[in-house]
Symmetry: C3
């Protein structure tokens, strides 16, 4: 299913988790989640081990959940604490609990091997903690498609001119080359379009009238967090690539969570270096992004549907695919590493080649 | 599919079958049924042997059904009596007819080997024929789940406290032990709750105010008829277990008919020893039971859905499962016996073991 | 899937194809179609070879289509003429174009081997070009069933009495024998019903009051074009079989296009030798036929649904099935011939039989 299990995935924003029971689906598993009286968030397997009823159909009693069928009860770390009709509560009746981290108003869950869950590895960036930046938690975009298509689209600047011609892109960028760099865990694709009309987003939000220099940096943190750094500055400012903070700069963050092979949620938020503290600006950006995301959604769902058909021929790859190609290869490698065990290295020289 | 074919199943109440053609689905087969001019009910395979059109899309002509496509016509026992365009009506064109018994206002159909259909084995009980009891044919509860889950729930007193806390049960019964007895064809689970507040049903219907002794007897006649004997009596009456007729006693009958592996109909009715002849009491009981049945339906459909998923681990069994466990084993044995042929016993000593 | 690929299939009427992009599904493939500036109709594979997005979600630019995802652009014969972000347009990026013929207001597409597409073989009949006949393009009947069932029904006069008792048939024809003749590419089934009441259609359209002689000729041109020649004439006219033009005569044409194994479109139109030039007569005939087609649709969709079930026994064949039986055998032979390659004839005597 191409899921990388050993990774932190976003379940929602902090404000989405209150004391009531909520359900979250990710990586083809069902979770029941609630905020315990201590304030910590609990994420348990949403499945009573007895007759399989989702525990989310039961009720919360203190910091436990009681199954709605026969009353088996589990505490916030999944331990079975009551089996009505009998005195013992065997450990075999415990259910799985998943590590949770809450940070920067974002709730992350670890679906893989719990021994590998390290809260230090949860995504972070300095701008979350700087007064120069305004952070706004956006929405949760539901897409009926495989997550690889969603993420691939976020390391693909080339689609912007065609999918978002009136919002995030316009015709001036159609043939501007894309740079790609790849490091251990981040794939970056970017391009600058110099001395061109501002795109719809920045006309609306940045209030530009003349020609601008604009940039798109797509930073993809494996497996599925995208940091899109985009902005504009008046062309006469002669902005250097590394001086992007001088312009109107926005980070759009996408935390992409696979629900199953046919469904994905993109939890998106943004940070900006202008109009700080203005709620109306946040709302305006939300609206502009939502328009663009609906354009992506229509494309991505149609592609997913097309991929389900029998293919008459192999698809083709073109020059602009470098970012997506590297991304897909990295994911295949991660999935492969998770699903095999390496038991030893060859005694050199294990293989001898003759010329 | 875990269906026991050699058994009588309820297709509906007598009043549901008139001269018009009706369709019934059971055990993954489609039947077309109608009441012939003699008054007897006919049940035929709902499939023209020619182009497979359901005969229920044709029309009744006298005591025959004419196919709506090319006019092939079948009498009430399935014999082909006309093939338009040709003179002969070969026996190979006959369709299958299913034995039907109508008794106590209930219509039963036999889906298995017709040679084994014995009208004497149709379910009956003395209270159907006694003036001390008021009989009322209730409704047909449709459930999107496997029938074994529906029937299992009817030999499981332990769920009542949690699924029906305001109607049929309350917290006083949560840990009261359940007795189980098993005989050849009946599995019985029961418990008494002594000296406790009346449950919603009997407060409403029996008009109890003080503490009561109450009982639940779940009698399951294999494969899928449940007779639930429940009632209440004021605690000061010191009622013995065998004197239940002294209290307000109700029999809720469930005739559970599998439609297919994912759909089941529970035909339910009730008898009572009080408020005889009062239609308003029947309606009140209908309403109280329907509320409780909707609670069961929500649970059972969610369990069925959960069972369709790949399971990460084996489910657990607990002390209260004795009735359901015995029930499922009996069904497995019945299905196994139907699907294998026994050809001989070993000549003793066929097997010699050495220590 | 029992599709004959090497054949012309109707995609719609001429009036359905304008300059805007439209989509057509046939033989389990998706086409994008548009009328080029030259007036010719173009039919391309509706699939960008890059990320598989349907090209119909892109936009027409001149006589090219630009993909809505990354802007790859294809001309009206499927040649890739632009790949944004790179200079070359490799032939491997070309998409498939399908031969199209437009004739008599009907648009035909060839889905098989393009080398075998011969515009001379497109269906035609002299009445299309005669002033004695009024031609009217009707509608497009969508049916949720396999096309073989639709076409079979069009070479099956026997169903008319039972499926269309108030429109195209009535009880007088129930047992009148059907003649069948088969030539290389046409299967014909027909019958005359002499000296009987007019059927609903001709009462309404032909204004007959007394008894009539009426005929049904079902001419099926393989694989899926049906020409139904039906009409009536007053019995006292003593009409010979070959003099049908003396009566009120109608040709109902059905161009049946398989969409996939579970969906079919019947493009139907009609010609008549009376009420020429009267639009109100065309509309009346449309209405009468649509009523009858809805009767067929109900039957055919129910049959298709029934065919998806596991069958308890083999279906039976009866005397009236001659036309359908020959038709199905011919289709099996055509499909077999398309899917195998004949590499040589035996050196005589390759096989020697002994008596």
């Amino acid at each position: 299913m191409d899921f990388v299990n050993n990774s932190w995935y976003v379940a929602g924003w902090s404000k989405d988790f209150k004391s009531n029971i909520t359900t979250v689906e990710m990586l083809s598993q069902s979770l029941v989640m609630f905020r315990a009286t201590s304030g910590e968030i609990s994420a348990l397997e949403d499945r009573c081990p007895h007759r399989l009823l989702p525990l989310s159909m039961g009720k919360r009693i203190g910091d436990t959940i009681q199954c709605g069928y026969h009353g088996m009860t589990f505490d916030k770390v999944g331990k079975c604490v009551r089996v009505p009709g009998q005195a013992n509560t065997p450990a075999r009746a415990d259910i799985r609990a998943f590590p949770v981290v809450e940070k920067n108003g974002i709730v992350w869950v670890w679906m893989g091997d719990p021994d590998l869950a390290d809260a230090e590895n949860v995504f972070d960036m300095p701008e979350f903690h700087s007064d120069d930046w305004h952070m706004h938690h956006g929405g949760h975009l539901h897409l009926k498609c495989h997550y690889l298509n969603v993420v691939e689209n976020l390391v693909d600047p080339a689609h912007v001119s065609f999918v978002h011609p009136t919002t995030l892109g316009n015709a001036s960028s159609e043939d501007v080359p894309v740079h790609v760099s790849t490091s251990e865990n981040v794939i970056r694709a970017w391009r600058w379009i110099r001395n061109a009309p501002a795109v719809g987003f920045f006309k609306e939000f940045g209030n530009f009238h003349g020609h601008v220099d604009r940039w798109h940096y797509y930073n993809l943190h494996l497996p599925s967090t995208a940091v899109i750094d985009f902005g504009s500055i008046a062309t006469e400012e002669n902005c250097a690539e590394e001086d992007r903070d001088r312009g109107v700069r926005v980070f759009a963050l996408h935390f992409v969570t696979p629900v199953d092979e046919h469904y994905t949620i993109d939890h998106w938020m943004h940070l900006r270096n202008s109009a700080r503290g203005q709620d109306s600006a946040s709302e305006k950006i939300d609206g502009l992004l939502e328009t663009a995301f609906q354009e992506d959604k229509a494309i991505l769902e149609a592609v997913h549907k097309a991929e389900q058909r029998v293919q008459p021929r192999k698809p083709v790859r073109i020059a602009i695919d470098k970012g997506p190609n590297v991304y897909r290869k990295r994911i295949r490698d991660l999935v492969d590493a998770e699903n095999t065990e390496h038991l030893g290295d060859p005694i050199a020289p294990a293989f001898v080649y003759k010329d």
